[in-house]
Amino acid sequence: MAWNLRTLVVFGALSLAGPPSIAPAVAQNLTMAVGAPVTSIDPHFHQLSPNNAVAAMIFDRLINTDGQSRMVPGLAESWTAVAPDVWEFKLRRGVRFHNGSEFTAEDVAFTFQRVPNVPNSPSSFAAFVRPMRSVEVVDSHTLRITTNGPYPLLPQDMTNLYILDRETHQGVTTEDFNSGRAAIGTGPYRMINHRMGDRIEFERNDQYFGERPAFARVNYRMITNDSARTAALLAGDVEFIDQVPTADLTRLRSDPRMAMSEVTGLRLIYLSFDHHRNEASPFVTDHEGRPIARNPLRDVRVRRALSMAIDRQAIVERVMEGAGTPSAQFFPPGVFSFIPDFPAARVDAEGARRLLTEAGFPQGFRITLHGPNDRYPNDGRVIQAIGQMWTRLGVRTAVEAQPWTTFVARAGRGEFSSFLIGWGSNPEGSHPLRNLIATPDRERGWGASNRGRYSNREIDQQLEAALREIYDTRREQMLIATQRAAFEDVAIVPLYIQTNIWAMRRNLQHASRTDELTRAQDVRPAAAR
């Protein structure tokens, strides 16, 4: 066989190009696995992150949110407060639902009517339409919403409501959504198959008004067991997973076939104290095990001492394997109403001891720290670490971790003296303030998750004023001042903000999200590495 120059050139060119199958053939399908089951396709049935993630693939909101949870135009192109209590939304033209029906202002009005009337909902979206006094359809693509008094949070609320079609969704039930018959939105994907608790299959909506998703078909699987989800990724059964367990982080980071996507989220892990008992608190005793007549946790010096004794950096590094950021407040930098110059407290054992002595507990006392053991990553181990740090301070701490199902009911009844819990915020200071810090008040809907029953009239008043302030810059300053006051009074003890982590095959990339939602449109083929 005669080798000549031409053959060599041809072979050389081939070897440079590589086997044809690897070259630009862009994958059309994506298989992803999420850790939390989606319980309903009906976007107004159950307010739950996994459901919202799927809703954000099929449907749209008037105002969508970007990866940093900032508001971006969705079905509304613009929104302005034309009066302190009137918001006007200009809607996007030329948008069609998956079945071809046109999107108009009537559809939005219809959606607002449906939201509070979904039967049997275990957690409805009704709170987002309650501030509305009236909804006026000005023309086919203009909507005016009048609220009960000045209500600056209306646009923020609109980032939670998925818009349905009046023609298509008249009288449909939750089951119609689950079966796929009514799963028709304006979103980037249409649902083509749904097996409850197992998988959902999607097909790209080529008529989508926004950015075109990279993958034509998506298989969205639910693998709730952490190890099984990682294994599925390693085995190549799925190409993308969320909620990467911290135990697997080191392994996945060092695997050359894998890539990670991480962002500091909006979920704060914090400690809460029994604020409402003046007399003895149920899980606080002196060193002989006798109840202490007055509740030491009512004393801000004791609370501060307990906070100062915690080595947040060590917890984040050793227990959380780096998957968190120590924090002294609700938000990471860059979020609306983040408090600048308010760094996470450093450990100060000396100062903490001094404060305890000042408060009249030079010998410390005994306390039981409660927490869940199946809710947040490493929750049980975190409270153990804190228990050791407190014990070193002289506050002998027993640690009791229990399943979330029992824990949350007891915490809600105010049975504990101190406990660990988490909170995922909307990116707006009034959200955590209203729910966690404000005095519980049924009429105003405040303090519903204020399980330690903290109550501070001044903070309530400041919050009330901020909630009436329609101008963002002024409201932000007011919210910063209110949060600062709350944290200086140690209403709660912030520990760290969780990092949201996704892992994927090397040939993919992901636009991370602070709101923890896992959506197919955020995944793309990686640029050549």
């Binding site: 089951p37 693998i223 059964d237």
Partner: protein, 324 residues
Amino acid sequence: MTVYLLRRIFQSLLVMVAMSLIVFVGVYAVGDPVEILISPDADQMERERAIKALGLDLPLWEQYGVFVWRALQGDLGRSFVYNEPALQLILQKMPATLELAFGSMFISILIGLPLGMYAGLRPDSAGSKVIMAGSILGFSLPTFWVGLMLIMVFAVQLGWLPSTGRGDTAEFLGLQWSFLTGNGLSHILLPAVNLALFKISLVIRLTRSGVRETMLMDYVKFARAKGLSPSRVTFVHVFKNILIPVVTVVGLELGSTIAFSVVTESVFAWPGMGKLIIDSINVLDRPVIVAYLMIIVVMFITINLIVDLLYSALDPRVRLEGKA
């Protein structure tokens, strides 16, 4: 016979009432479903609305009364989480669990029986010692760990089989089954083996002791003395007689495999009833928990009844009319 049947039905009704009461009181004691299901930022009004919507505002005895009244009309309630009839949810997941249970049964007999025979016929050989030691492992290794190891070895390291999930399905008798497709079979293999491991050991031990006992029986000695070939003695005379206890135990095991394959199903993300029940317990979805346990009670009672009837058919000495 009729008296016996009526009596059994009455007994099962009693068990079902007791079961539903226990679940109602148990869920009530564990926690509040609304606290778990509701969005954390729901305000007090929304919480009250949800409690009412799920019927949890009524006193416990009244909630139970409503449940019994509806159950008598064939309605076991709607899932709090999915807003679909609990019974329908469970029945949808049943084929996945059934095929997994039968698959593992099949594997355990296919592997356990020959190995047990061998170990019984040659108790002193090195091979049977290995088999018996292996069966101890099968008994004692925790299912979830073995499951994860199977995934690590066969899916992650070797890449031979898919790690999780239920693959393609095909329709048969109006239901979706995965054992009818190649892809589905490859998905079912690992979870079925995982579930079978314990049962393989059980079958090995039952078979072995049966063989060893039977080999000493007079009729076997007689058959040998008559000059029958060893294989005829083993496969006809011994085999037939050891089969009866094996089949009984395996049959009863089937019931508990269907009902409690929870661990395997969650490790392999197998969308069956076991995964549904564990998810439901985690969020205190009471209607599903109650309905599931009801179905399981009915299933066990039925299996036991069938076993009893079979016994009396097989062995005339057993009489059903007498004391049940």
